[in-house]
């Protein structure tokens, strides 16, 4: 059954990044599956108003104040009137928020619940529990997630993190990983897409590396503290000292770029380390295929799409064993290191040795990754979540048979597996958030509800035009799916 879905996040194109492309890819695939998807984000410079992207994906760039790293100013209620207008004119049924730092997303989920819509939240990042900023974010997250229908995390580590941060019932958190568009990340030797009709299943040839051939190590990352640039600064001179035929290519920009450059000058390594500066996402593949090893020194990472992209390009991956990274790739594609200098140097050495002895079949990586990660699969699994929260799937189907015991459910749940919209039930859920926070949250919810009533009176629903849908093509997939159901 097709849904009308609104993806809400502060982060969307034209700004580059993982969350942005996740939203875009997921939306496109959901549209392919017959749903209607719109994206609500804030206005970027030179990108305002209502726009359409390929495939009829409609994007609302709401004019809003941006304060820090493309995040809007958190005003709890000011987004409501325009959000309500958009939701009504697009006949939205499910609001899907992305990214826990996006205040837009939190507000949208709160308002959507007030308006009686189903909500889903996708968490893309890991957070600590100790520092002030994290505590604040976690509190905010707890506020929003007290009354969300379902949460999606990109990895199991991320799920664990989110469940702890927001005190959620683990059953209402699903893990759906990111994916990559494998066609955009193919190795140099791989035949171009689409494969020709003659079915040239060209078996990729193994490339032999002699003991004196140069091995190039690629690093593509924003140069921030949390991406492990300090680790990189410490490790590069040692790696280069012990392996004479190794080169580095570093792409990306950020506040830590200056540290890297200083390190290069101190050790006079300019001829062996190439700094490319910022690269666009579509150019990443061209950088990656120049190398043999991808080094990912990140200190925290919820998923790490970039290592999947690297493996898809046929690179052997050396990465730190943090966050969700160990779940992402199978063991034969990666060498893990602890997030410390010595271990990173040792792991890189191991990877170089393995490549030199030609033990790693990197040329097969692309096809393996292509089988493991696809956006179509992500969209399918997300659709299942939508089915679950709107009650199309039965509780036992969606949450598993053990969970169907009524005893394991919290008292505030209404009909099996579906969060009740009654204000009193919502208040109960918020009240449990903390001694003071609970009361504050309840106050916010009550004000939000009053605001909703006010808007219903002063901006009546029947005065809002219903937007026309993008004309849909007849899906080719229909017939294929029918066959599948037939087989079952």
């Amino acid at each position: 059954m097709p849904y009308n879905i609104a993806m809400v996040s502060d982060y969307f194109f034209p700004q580059p990044g993982g969350i942005e492309s996740h939203i875009y890819q997921l939306s496109t695939k959901l549209i392919d599956r017959g749903h209607k998807v719109i994206v609500i984000t804030h206005a970027y410079e030179g990108r305002t108003g209502v726009r359409y992207l390929t495939n009829g994906l409609k994007v609302y760039h709401v004019p809003f104040l941006v304060i820090y790293r493309a995040t809007t100013f958190p005003t709890v209620f000011s987004f409501f009137p325009i959000f309500r207008n958009i939701v009504i004119r697009e006949q939205i049924e499910i609001v899907h928020g992305h990214a826990s730092l996006s205040s837009f997303c939190h507000e949208a989920i709160l308002h959507a619940r007030t308006m009686g819509l189903r909500t889903v939240f996708t968490d893309h990042s890991l957070f600590g529990f100790a520092d002030a900023a994290s505590i604040l974010t976690n509190k905010l997250l707890k506020f929003t997630l007290s009354d969300v229908d379902h949460v999606i995390c990109v990895s199991h580590t991320c799920k664990e993190n989110t469940v702890l941060r927001a005190s959620l019932d683990p059953l209402m958190v699903s893990v759906i990983p990111n994916a990559v568009v494998a066609e955009n990340f193919r190795p140099l030797s791989h035949p171009a897409y689409p494969p020709s009709e003659f079915g040239n299943h060209m078996v990729p040839v193994q490339q032999h590396l002699g003991p004196h051939d140069t091995i190039t190590i690629v690093v593509v990352s924003r140069l921030f503290y949390n991406k492990g640039t300090d680790l990189l600064v410490a490790a590069i001179p040692r790696i280069l000292a012990s392996h004479p035929h190794v080169r580095f290519i570093i792409a990306g920009s950020g506040p830590k770029a200056i540290d890297l450059e200083q390190m290069l000058e101190r050790n006079v390594l300019q001829d062996r380390v190439e700094m490319l500066g910022p690269v666009r996402h579509e150019e990443v593949r061209d950088v990656m295929v120049r190398g043999h090893i991808y080094l990912h020194p990140s200190l925290t990472e919820a998923f790490g799409t970039v290592i999947v992209e690297a493996a898809s390009c046929g690179l052997y991956v050396v990465c730190t064993q943090v966050g969700g990274i160990p779940e992402v790739l199978p063991n034969h594609m990666t060498v893990f290191a602890k997030p410390e200098e010595d271990d990173l140097v040792a792991a890189t050495g191991k990877a170089i040795a393995a490549l030199r002895s030609n033990k790693v079949r990197t040329e097969n990586f692309h096809d393996q990754v292509k089988k493991m990660y696809s956006w179509t699969d992500v969209a399918e699994r997300t659709e299942r979540v939508y089915d679950g929260i709107s009650g199309v799937l039965s509780e036992a189907d969606f949450y598993g048979y053990d969970a169907a015991d009524a005893a394991s459910w919290s008292a505030t749940r209404g009909r099996a597996g579906v969060q009740s919209f009654a204000l009193i039930d919502r208040l109960k859920r918020y009240y449990g958030c903390g001694i003071w926070a609970g009361k504050l949250f309840c106050l916010c919810v009550v004000i939000d509800y009053l605001l909703f009533m006010f808007l219903e009176f002063f901006a009546p629903r029947d005065e809002i035009d219903i937007a026309r849908n993008w004309p849909k093509k007849i899906r080719v997939e229909n017939s294929r799916r029918d066959q599948r159901t037939f087989k079952r």
Binding site: T48, G49, V50, Y60, V62, P63, P81, I82, N85, I86, R89, A459, I464, D465, I466, A467, R468
Partner: protein, 223 residues
């Protein structure tokens, strides 16, 4: 009661000409006409009395020279007649009442209040905006002004200057509205049709289809 939601009226004097009018005025029936006449009468009365009040205040100040009484009635179409009328009015009982009122109100209250009232009185009750399409010539947009003091603003765009006409959406205040725009060649900004009323999608779509159908010559089939 006197205004309604913006609605569309179409006039088609010839097959190649069509005029779309969007207005907030209800269809003119006899009671409505009477009511409108009454409001105009009311406006004129209130406006004149405000002017009289201002004039009495002026007479009380030091800047004015006292009016001289006329011995005989001057000719009707002359300046003197106006002064004669003013003198008679201010010396009448009504004039005395207004003078009394004028002494009571301080000028700091009287001036802004009376100007506000005069402005409010000059506001039009209805907004009417129209789009006239002439095949082979172009389109003319017109939009009534908000006050009676100025006429409607019209703009003619010749066919060869029109690049495109389409319906778009944009944020306006706290909502997203549909609007019909004309893209004019060589101009930085587009021309919005019905800029004040911004009618609803249904109306815009009708107008858009009509304009597309009427403005351009139907393409002749080859052969």
């Amino acid at each position: 009661m006197l205004t309604v939601a913006p609605h569309l009226r179409t006039r088609r004097p010839s097959p190649t000409t069509v005029e779309y009018t969007v207005s907030t005025s209800p269809p003119p029936t006899l009671p409505l006409r009477l009511l409108l006449g009454l409001t105009i009468l009311l406006r004129v009365t209130i406006g004149l009395s405000v002017l009289l009040l201002l004039y009495s205040k002026f007479l009380l100040s030091d800047y004015s020279t006292p009016l001289e009484p006329y011995s005989s009635r001057p000719q009707l179409q002359s300046n003197a007649f106006i002064w004669y009328l003013a003198y008679n009015l201010t010396t009448s009982r009504l004039g005395a009442l207004f003078t009394h009122l004028a002494t009571l109100t301080p000028p700091i209250v009287l001036l802004p209040a009376s100007f506000t009232i005069l402005y409010l009185l000059s506001l039009r009750l209805h907004t009417t905006e129209s789009l006239l399409v002439l095949r082979g010539l172009g389109i003319q947009t017109s939009s009534s002004s908000s006050t009676f003091l100025s006429g409607s603003t019209t703009r003619f765009i010749p066919t060869e200057k029109i690049q495109d006409i389409f319906v778009n959406e944009a944020f306006r205040g706290f909502e997203v509205r549909y609007y019909l725009v004309v893209v004019v060649e060589g101009e930085e900004s587009v021309v919005v049709v019905f800029p004040r009323l911004l009618p609803r999608r249904q109306i815009l779509e009708t107008v858009w289809r009509g304009v597309r159908g009427c403005l351009f010559e139907p393409e002749e089939k080859a052969g």
